[in-house]
Subunit: 341 residues, 2 copies
């Protein structure tokens, strides 16, 4: 069945039903804090007293942000949600509610739509957030997804709080997602992450050891997860979505500082270190400019240490980013993707 | 200049600047309640203690929801905002904050974009709401606008509170917007509402008296305004966007009631009564099924009276809508626009 014959209430009903089955299958059960979810003029929500409300939104357009020939509908649904949660995590906040607007091509298969919704509700359920509203319409111009996430925080961490002398930290590892994208683009296929043996990988990566690493970096690109750990004491924070350098440059500008990066400190995964050379790619380039890492970068007073975060540099009197590598210090240009340049 | 060469920061800077000039021209001044507006991972907002948070979103796609050959960029920007505010008013709430995501064709003229933003900031300024965040990206598939509005209410009014014996009220007049759309479609032109004399109206409406009425109904369609008056005592409420019958049917379903409409009570404007016959249209049909009125319908105990709202019927044991006209009572089918049927 094509979606064109389905009717709006069937589509919205599916979202409600899959969300309820995620939440334990109690039909009509209302999530904590939701006084009115899908189905009125607006959602009606509680916010915990004493907290600030956090709100962020992303627009994803087929052909610009995603390609349904190399991502499954489930993966797309999952990623639409998690990349938005990452924005709330970039403030140190707790994501709570989602509004999802969908522009759907009339010839979309209903089963594809169902997989997309299953991806969304799986991600939402994993992180304890609830879809409370949205909008569906037909789009003759390809699949369009707009997600707004609402959250809260007792003490949000802005980009503007870094000071010279403080240290720069990053969570997890960098560059994996960018490498995953390269592999995806060179294969040009759907990658079924649930059944890695069926993946059609480029010849160079078909050896069993490399296959395992490939699955990891593909997962980082296709189904990224937000960093849910808190880092108390952080004075400035943001998530890395457009690439370490460009996002770090934004943080420095807002803080009125510069930063000296220690190239040798950049956290690189085993997968990146193994796979990048096979594909003729520089792992440091991928880590510095790759994008879509959805890790957190943050500033903290000198001498701070954190579990699951690596010190990668120091804030200095600005402006700009310099990198120290093998004893040589040089300025780096913050480059990244601009939709309009 | 085409937008493709402008760079994302120029576009976002324009939104900030036009919004500031609306707010009295104080650069960098932060609106009340906005701890962090455009420019961090998420907006950081205050919500008044004791209130519920209201959130609603709309997705508008070129070719589906609007046509830039019959609407100016300014009108489009204005309407994108006001139709969203109407959803918060449909709960009896106060709209406060906006998140705006834009998918922009690369060949859009920068001046057109500026007019669009001027429309948005004019509407936002008129109703005291602030654009606090959003997302911009390039779209090769036409102009896409997603607006999320956040508001609050001490006591939101749901669709579900109407009871048999209560009376049905509607604000303003119905059908004008639908008539405006008909005129627009038959002329196929841009209508410059600021300079009505230049409008190229269909021959039938070119007589001076009819021209004045035409301007009014075109305004209702091209630049609708939300109803800002409060109706204390309303037990159920929603805004009329898809047409009186279909929206009333939704309210009745949520409330578990039916309704008997008094056709003779439907509030019709002088403009509608004058113009519809000239164009061979039935004013009651336009009022019942037209859509995009952005008036409020609400339920209230029998005997209630309200300024600027008309009693048009009574809630009865359900289900369904019946209409009483010239002493004859008949059932009416709730029809309206479904994107997927």
């Amino acid at each position: 069945m094509k979606i064109a014959g389905a009717g709006e209430s069937l589509l919205i009903g599916l979202i409600r039903r899959l969300q309820e089955s995620q939440a334990g299958g109690v039909a009509g059960r209302t999530a904590a804090g939701v006084l009115k979810g899908i189905g009125d003029d607006s959602a009606v929500l509680n916010t915990p007293p004493g907290t600030s409300l956090l709100a962020s939104t992303d627009l994803l357009v087929e052909g610009v942000h995603f390609d349904l020939s190399t991502t499954t509908a489930f993966q797309l649904g999952y990623k639409c949600i998690t990349v938005n949660l990452s924005d709330i995590r970039g403030m140190g906040g707790t994501p709570c509610y989602l509004l999802v607007s969908l522009g759907l091509p009339g010839d979309l298969e209903f089963d594809e739509f169902k997989e997309f919704v299953r991806g969304m509700t799986t991600a939402a359920g994993s992180y304890g957030v609830t879809i409370v509203g949205g909008d569906t319409c037909r789009s003759d111009k390809g699949f369009v997804v707009s997600v707004t996430v609402l959250g809260n925080s007792l003490k949000p961490v802005f980009r503007s709080g870094a000071r010279p002398g403080q240290e720069l930290f990053v969570t997890g590892t960098l560059g994996d997602s960018a490498l995953g994208l390269k592999i995806l683009q060179s294969s040009g296929n759907i990658m079924n992450l649930e059944d890695p043996e069926t993946m059609s990988l480029p010849e160079l990566l078909s050896e069993p050891g490399l296959r395992q690493y490939s699955v990891r970096v593909l997962k980082r690109h296709l189904m990224p997860d937000p960093v849910m750990q808190d880092y108390p004491g952080a004075t400035a924070m943001m998530d890395v979505s457009d690439g370490l350098l460009i996002d770090l440059d934004r943080l420095c500008r807002e803080s009125g500082t510069g930063v000296r990066l220690e190239q040798a400190c950049l956290p690189l995964s085993d997968a990146l270190l193994k796979l990048a050379p096979v594909l003729g790619l520089d792992p440091f380039e991928l880590a510095l400019r790759g994008g879509e890492d959805y890790e957190l970068i943050f500033a903290a007073p000198a001498g701070s240490t954190f579990e699951n975060a690596t010190r990668i540099g120091e804030f200095v009197d600005g402006p700009g980013i310099i990198v120290s590598s093998d004893g040589i210090v040089k300025p780096l240009k913050a480059e990244g993707y601009d939709h309009f340049l």
